[in-house]
Symmetry: D2
Subunit: 406 residues, 4 copies
């Protein structure tokens, strides 16, 4: 069977699968499920075009890795076929541990396990079945390989993950300002002492990239309506868990039920069918459950679910300083009166939180610029705009949600 | 509240809502549910980008209607504000009767009711609630208004529905050959004696449009892998209905359960909460049910559901003539042996059908060309390629599905 | 010096130069002059965006050749590095013989020499200077290499030349209907017995391509306003040549003067500095001369040049049958009266000609389809639309130009 | 005659001409000549796609003005039809005074007259012929109209001129990083006290715009190869003027000859056929002259012209501080020795200058942000990145050109 398949992508055109093992991994049920997990969760309530999935993103990021490897080889960086395949697999599978609604429910389904942990766990599990064919990919993913630039291509300030998701999220939301000159940036990547660096002449591209990312944060990722929707969904899950063992609950998909009725930690991953059940979850279980719960006898759950289903979202207000406790309590009172529920139930509608545009520093690592004279400099030393997009002047906004006035 | 909202669309950029009533209809729960119904159902198994929804399509088609009305007015066609709003609402709501997986399950959920019937039914229902504000829109939709070109803009050979879906499906699948010069075609539309016509100089655009549509049929809508997936889903629903009242079945979402356990006809729409339950269905109930049924005690259902979930689809073969009955029986025998099921159960895997590229004539109506000398001609009289894209030489292919050899 | 340059192209993004010899040929003065020769000549008077040059087209076609070679190699067609470079050079230089205004003035500057002859001539000349490095490229260009598919990639029904110019002309004119799915078509190319063929599953793509080309012919290449402008320019050159040795003429650039004052044939290419002077011509000499001649004492020349400079073009009328001689004479009379010139001078304004959409058959060669069962078929045997786009029903229109009524 | 023409634009699709007077102005010879003046002059030597013209830019900017007016009216800003036409004409004609190679030769053809002066002059001249139909347009253009926001839409920090040229230059160069979300920015424009302002929620868009502009400066407008080409052309004209009255010169187009042989000031515009001759110049006279001068007896002129024609450009070096006089003299010596010319002739090859990215402040005016609370703030008070893109930290680089080493 010919596994050198071509996949159509609206952004990149044709994406070619060059290696059988890549094809085999795409065929895995664990990977196929990413077709039903949207990249941006409830953001589609604000940007209706944002329907793209983790599946597309993973394929797209792998495509960029292919381009990056080709470009680095053209700069005489030695990359073996094994390393190429390892890097492609690492980026292909980097999000395999994502569950329904990606980041939004990351800690609602499994408390103390993030998606990277789950990706690792699943990669090891698959590796066992595949007789070690993923070993190098796992080393790269977990930053245990002795040529760190491979890991940096998967996860760093300037990795293929970000390049793809920024481009893709911009494309599907229709927010054209987030468009990044991916080709140019990849051309500017280089390797020195096995570390990923940016050639000096790429500095404007990098700055442009940082600005585009900043733009996407405020315009898309931290869009207040989308945050209001996220809060609604989070509180629905929280409420459902809280009442799951009371007589009022309504049964949903057994896979979801499993996580409502039990609380698992990292240490349970290998027991109890946790992973098996987890891999049977995608966005549809949640959507379906929310609709079922509209008819719950629990008023709080029912109201929350009706709101989300009908896109009648919570009101959200932003402030430059932390929300005053009195103001919060006022909102809680209002809500408990309006809905005739207890204060603790009202808290499911009145949520506070902060929005932080941590566009540049996610992981704390830095971006190195390779100067023409041979030096390596920190981006912060060479760029004028770096500081402003970075933590020196962190941009935080504080929000509170509440019921809309009728 | 400002209802002159702007919606981002990856294809058209900014779509502006010009009338409050349009905004109100978009807010309806009946319309919001279209956010969770994919335009192309299982086609995303072939083209991963095809995640766009009926919601986006409806908004997009309305946007094109706005452009068309503007263009016609510039040609001195008199269109009142009421007519404008009526036409916009008619196209906005034309697909409101679609259920999960759009066309694929159109007759699986409700046997003898197609989506147009349901759209009409829902529009009347909404109209009642809205004190008759949709009356003109309904007249236009049902072709009862005395200026037929409005209906033709909603539904005819060259309607805003098709222009949007061809463009959108082409965009999201990444099949760029389906791209249609929408702006130019709309500029070529005109009205004579209250009938929609095409100006003569638009004939090449129309031919180009017909070819693009033909291309989309073979490359996307009738893609054999996608047909194989559709058959799988259809047979899953069929099997679930067949065994729903036996002890082996597994419960799913109550909204879906309702349609599995009962068979309704057109006449039941007003009873029994049929519409209420229908409006609580979207793609997620089906996805969720398929995953639950993987564990059904019914082997046939279980195998079918595992296949779809893991994208391990049926094999499909195409032929130029109808499939021989002996060949079918052979496949059935093979299947019953392989799975150790009865012949009638094997029929859920061995499906025959035909693919027909009815790109041009769907509804039998024709396309009129307004010649420069004032005459009206049929497209067939003026175009050289018309006949070939039409029924004179119908293109039919016959398919049979079966289990893949291991 | 690093010759692995990257060139930005608005259509393809980054175009990479992979071989030093390619870079060297791009640097040649003979090639650099293509920067100043517009691909579509006076078409920019109709489509203002159509400013792209032969230079861009040649680079673009070379880029597509790179993709085609990569794709063929992936289908296990053996292509050596020498052959790759030969094919790249052949397509890069295929238009190097074009003069000012490309096709429009092809026989006005040098009577009996077409641009292919000149391309050949120049390639041989360059080859001498380069010690034979172009020998294989020339063999491929002149179809003397024993693996004909290379020539077919340069010049045939489905060559890289056409793929690029259709895409590029569509892009720059803004006539989106001409957009062709280049990537898909190239993926469908294959080689059997050293002949270029199309895989069967590519048949819809080919048909789509033929339709797009047909569309571009009527909408762009044969656009009547553009034909009217071409006739004006042709007649300007004709008039200038006719009066060049009379006392009324005005001097222009010596390079152009050289061709006005002398008539050369194929056999003169090697003498008289013909090629040297030719290579010093580009669109600017013509534009500049036309403006100078506005002040010519020769009324005919002066009027023609003012018309073109101010885009006050000839009126053009189209007919389905050849223009009647009486009608022509009537127009001539009208013109000579209006301008007070002789009948023979009036003929510079009254031009007749025919427009022929020879979209498919330019060179008479055919397109072979490689069927799944191993057979080779003519496109005409497998496609339904082939005949209509072909010569069976040649589409001819007859035109006559004349002065606009004031 | 129907003057409601539609013009195809590769960027915006269809551009509609809504008013007869607009159509008439486009038809003027003074405007048609912009078809032959490239927007970016010699930048096409670096980015071959950059062939777009001032004609396209003027039409594009007018199109954006139409959108802006529509958007402002939707915000209940009162704009009369006369004002609409005035603003459209003002932006349409804002660049009508540009000569060959736009900015590059702005002061080489006419010493002390910039293109804005010439635009004004020509607009007044046309206005006389048109019986005052341009009067309001001229008031707007010259900032004499009592509602300044119209002038600001034509010329200010956030005018339609810049929005179009940034978008267009980005599109044609293929430098996608310069892409600006024009639609969104225009939606953010508003008017308060007849001043153009930006709504607060548009601040990220504005910042993004400033970054894109900054990017375009370094990547395109100040690209060092393009500067090197500009210097070559400037020095060619300078040298030609210096020797025009000596016996060595060679005649070129009389229109250009006129400006070589005479020096005019602002005060001569109304005499001596200055404007008539100027309007007969476009890029082609220069291109043609440069090729003719390759054969000049003046060695300096001949060498300079051969270099430009063959794209064998000057070497250019950048420094962070002003170039040392000794270094300059060294280069001059080198050149005079290499070419065997005098030191003063060598200065035509050794040019020094500075590059300044004055992306934000061109005219010194500022950008006002309309805060939600009703206040007006300077962009500098609300934006974090403003200062860095502004003159507080001016980015200057110093360059020197010289002959390439052989």
């Amino acid at each position: 069977m010919n596994k050198k398949k071509i996949i159509n992508d609206p952004i990149y055109g044709f994406v070619t699968i060059h290696h059988d093992i890549i094809f085999d991994c795409i065929e895995l049920p664990e990977f196929q499920r990413l077709r039903k997990i949207k990249q941006l969760g409830l953001t589609s309530l604000v940007y209706p075009g944002a329907q793209h999935t983790r599946f597309q993103h993973a394929i797209g990021a792998m495509h960029l890795m292919q381009i990056a490897i080709k470009s680095l080889r053209a700069k005489d960086i030695d990359i073996s076929k094994e390393e190429e395949v390892g890097a492609l697999l690492a980026i292909l599978l980097h999000d395999i541990g994502h569950g329904p609604f990606s980041h939004t429910l990351e800690h609602s389904i499994l408390d103390d396990v993030n998606h990277e942990n789950l990706s690792s766990y699943l990669m090891h599990q698959i590796n066992n079945k595949m007789n070690g064919q993923l070993s190098l990919a796992i080393q790269i993913f977990e930053d245990k390989y002795d040529r760190p630039f491979f890991h940096q291509l998967v996860s760093s300030q300037m990795d293929m993950d970000r390049l793809d998701y920024l481009r893709r999220d911009s494309f599907y939301t229709g927010v054209s300002e987030g468009t990044v000159g991916i080709e140019r940036i990849i051309q500017m990547l280089n390797v020195r002492d096995n570390q990923l660096i940016i050639d000096q002449k790429g500095i404007y591209s990098v700055e442009k990239f940082l600005m585009a990312r900043r733009f996407m944060y405020w315009q898309v990722y931290l869009h207040k309506t989308s945050i209001a929707a996220d809060e609604l969904l989070l509180n629905i899950l929280k409420r459902a868990k809280a009442i799951v063992n009371t007589p009022v609950s309504i049964k949903v998909s057994p896979y979801l039920q499993f996580f409502l009725e039990n609380s698992f930690t990292k240490h349970d991953l290998s027991n109890n069918n946790v992973i098996e059940n987890f891999c049977n979850l995608d966005d549809s279980e949640i959507y379906s459950a929310v609709k079922i719960w509209q008819n719950s006898n629990d008023k709080t759950l029912s109201v929350l679910c009706k709101m989300l289903t009908n896109r009648d979202l919570l009101k959200i207000e932003l402030f430059d300083s932390p929300i005053d406790i009195d103001f919060i309590n006022e909102k809680i009172d209002e809500t408990s009166n309006r809905l005739n529920v207890s204060d603790s139930e009202a808290r499911y509608f009145v949520c506070v939180g902060e929005l932080k545009n941590n566009a540049y520093t996610r992981t704390g690592d830095s971006l190195k610029i390779g100067m023409k004279n041979g030096e390596l400099k920190e981006l912060s030393e060479t760029s004028e705009i770096y500081n402003l997009t970075n933590d020196q002047k962190p941009q935080v906004k504080y929000y509170i949600t509440s019921l809309k006035l009728v």
